[in-house]
Symmetry: C2
Subunit: 120 residues, 2 copies
């Protein structure tokens, strides 16, 4: 008895069903993969990468970052919000100045792995 399967989106046929089934069983849940992509998306912007790299060197306030990266205070502030939501940076307030610093020790490791790939 042959198998007549209706395929939704794919406009071609499953060629190696055994492999597909095996891999399908090992795939992480949809949500994990989505979260993972969301995390890397944060690293996937030069501005945020620069901010993270800078904060890995020293705790800094928003104005310092804006000056260092030659950006408007607003743009930096917006991106810091994204980084904070992702729990990559934290901040503390001292008077009217807000200091930001890295929250996660993995940041440097992730960068280093990335560099490894780039430098083959």
């Amino acid at each position: 008895m042959f198998k007549m399967q209706t395929i939704d989106r794919c406009d071609c046929n499953v060629i190696h069903e055994d492999i597909v089934d095996k891999v399908k069983g090992k795939m992480p849940p949809e949500e994990s993969l989505y979260d993972l992509a969301e995390l890397f998306k944060v690293f996937g912007d030069s501005t945020r990468s620069k901010i993270l790299w800078a904060l890995d060197e020293a705790e800094m306030c928003v104005c310092d970052l804006a000056y260092l990266l030659n950006m408007t205070q607003s743009a930096v502030s917006h991106q810091l919000r994204v980084l904070k939501q992702t729990k990559l940076v934290k901040n503390r307030k001292e008077g009217k100045i807000v200091f930001y610093s890295l929250e996660d020790e993995h940041v440097r490791q992730i960068f280093e792995l990335g560099l490894k790939h780039i430098n083959e």
Copy 2:
């Protein structure tokens, strides 16, 4: 003699000039940071993350991937091109079938670091 500096984009003042100068000296070249962001941008899409994850389990052809991920063959093919340009996957041809596989051993490590962060 005080320093009168003209600031380009930043609409506020440098507060901690010593720190900024120190960090500025340690920042990687602009180009490295850009390339790094470009790499992570590739990981920053669920579709591509899924493809990479799947290929980490087994070598697969385009149709298999399309079926596994419930996507059109065209969409998968487009993303595979991106992954190949970034040297994250490679392919070999066998008749009319093209098999894709991971090219970089770091992929799994990068995913694992990402998961570590997500799971605190």
